[in-house]
Amino acid sequence: MIKKTGMILIAALILMNCGGGDTEATKEAAAPKLSPDGLTQEQLKHGIGPIGVLTLGPQDEVLAAKGAEVFELKCVACHKINERLVGPPLAGITTKRSPAFIMNMILNPDEMVKKHPEVKAMLAEFYVPMTFQNVTEDDARAILEYLRTL
């Protein structure tokens, strides 16, 4: 009994570990319900990154044309519209993924590839991770607009 108490004391002291903040248990209790990968439902749907939920208005042709230019410079080495190249074909992508998901994939691919279960599965299929191509948030929005036209 006494030995046990001692062990618990040691364990408690080591857990306290220099007065650091929350323990794992309290963190989890405070967080919303998470997927087995530790993501929120919102992250699963809209991706991980700077873009939250994004609602799109009517299509903007001028923005789409700008997006096509950026796409030509930054994306075509890996993506074709109708066939697989380094990455998947992108025709109809806006019907499969949410707008925020697409933009987060462009803006924050490292984290998406590491943490999002569906993107992790894609890495196993394509082998080359989606790369950040130094695209600004405005340009990513323009690319999204271009992808809507496909």
Binding site: G6, L9, I10, K74, V76, A77, C78, Y127, V128, F132
Partner: protein
Amino acid sequence: MNKTMMRVVGVILVIATFLLISECAKKEKPILGSGDAASAVYVAPGDYDEFYAFTSGGFSGQLGVYGLPSGRLFKEIPVFSLDPENGYGFNEETKDMLKTSFGHIPWDDSHHPELSQTEGVTDGRWIFINGNNTPRIARIDLKNFETAEIIEIPNSGGNHGSPFTTQNTEYVVASTRFSVPIPQADVPIDTYKENFNGTLSFIKVNPDDGHMNIEFQILVPGFDYDLASGGKGPSHGWAFFTSYNTEQANTLLEVNASKNDKDFIAAVNWKLAEKYLAEGKGKTRPGEHYVNRMNHKTHSAESTLNKTVTVLDPADCPGLIYYLPTPKSPHGVDVDPTGEYIVGGGKLAAVLSVHSFSKMIKAIEDNKVIGEAGGIPILDYDATIAGEVTNVGLGPLHTEFDGKGYAYTSAFITSEVVKWKLGTWEIVDRIPSYYSIGHLMIPGGGSMKPWGKYLVALNKMTKDRYLSTGPELAHAAQLIDISGEKMKLLLDFPTVGEPHYAQGIPADLVHPNTTKIYELEHNEHPYRALSEKEARVERKGNEVHVYMTTIRTHFKPDNIEGVKVGDVVYFHVTNLEQDWDIPHGFAIQGARNSELLVMPGATNTLRWEPKKVGVFPFYCTDFCSALHQEMQGYVRVSPKGSKVPISFN
């Protein structure tokens, strides 16, 4: 609980508390000097070093980049020597960086790195380094750790005494080690005394872009000029140069140049020089020299040939230079952080002489002149000397400062670092070096703001310090803790080449500002291909230009036909990646130069002259992704005169 049990609980609690304390202690770096040298230099995986150290490569011609306190090597920056590892000096963009009035010089002997300063403090913008053999000074940009500029120094032979900065990097200065006929001429060597001169060069540095330009040279007597230092604080506006061989011997210098009890430190009033220049006292003299600059928009070197330099003759410029007699064959000349003390490292002297700047000014005002050499007034030693450090060890070479009132001098012959106090000149500590220390370095230790925590001893002999690698050994650097009263040896680490000198700077002043990629949108290389749509092959006579792109994990084009024996093929490879740390390499069979290592967003060009008929593979040399091994292509080479048209896909 009975007593025994209480005791057990007590013991457990004591152990637990101890565990807790030691757990916490691990998170804080142990205080240096606590006896735990291993912890003091341990940088945990993923953590960063506190300082950058830049060590000259000596006969490698390059510049080493290390972390302190770990002593880990991060990079060897190619400066004066070819580097087949990344194509420096081989590819079309960088080969002109090595252009000189003697032609393309693929090697040099780099001695002294010097960080740029603002208001006497190292600012992390640039680091300069000299090429000794074919006199040159390079400027390395600390945003991308690449050589940005190399300027040739004319009227010089052995550009040893350089490149030392003034307080705001107004100038980097350079002195010629070997005096030579100026201008060069076919004269008997034994006419040394009448025909040979030295020069002290002042290279202006543009504060905005760092561009260097030889503002003026001062013609001086034909001694050997060794090292230099800019004034600071009260001595700002002056620069100091050591000299030896004031005997002006031209043979067997080890004896013939060691006769005089004292040689000179030349004190140059460069602010006065500027005034004389404005008055038109400068004369235009022959001085053919190249200036090679990297254009960061085109990623290419641009060379300019200048035919002349402006020369000041001390005879026309009273007050421009004074000689301070200093025993004996002084090597280092080091101005302390306050700018008052000028320490001459008399390498054959028994004492270390420290001149006072304020006494020097008073001696000039009071005309304490004891003679002249080549028309330059020599001041009275007793009138300028602030103090002498005795028993400093044999062969004192170089001194740096900790900013806390102490100086540290390297003594080559007795192989030690000697710590002494400024003002009282008393020796307070000494520590052996292994072996035969040359220069030493404290981060900021030659500036107005030293970070006096570590000292690096740059040793000339290695002998038994590491596992043997045969007759040729790495040089040995040693990290010494100088944060306490007593110096403490922490670490040995091997260095690349032969570091003659080093610089150190807090990582915070450099690390956050570094370039990660080059933006494709700003690539103005004339042969760029900014997307795969622009990838193509064009024939111009017997030149074939391949506009090639790379991205994980393919080349575009990857099949090229229509090349013939006798053609000169230029592979202009643009790396379309825009992600940090994704360079692609390019190598092709039979290339007699090197590979390319193309950074994200950059364009590099490899020249290839196929000599054999056949189909030759090219491939990516830098492991870039899981499909790196698939990143390849072919060039078909047909016989001379063949009708196979250019085609590609």
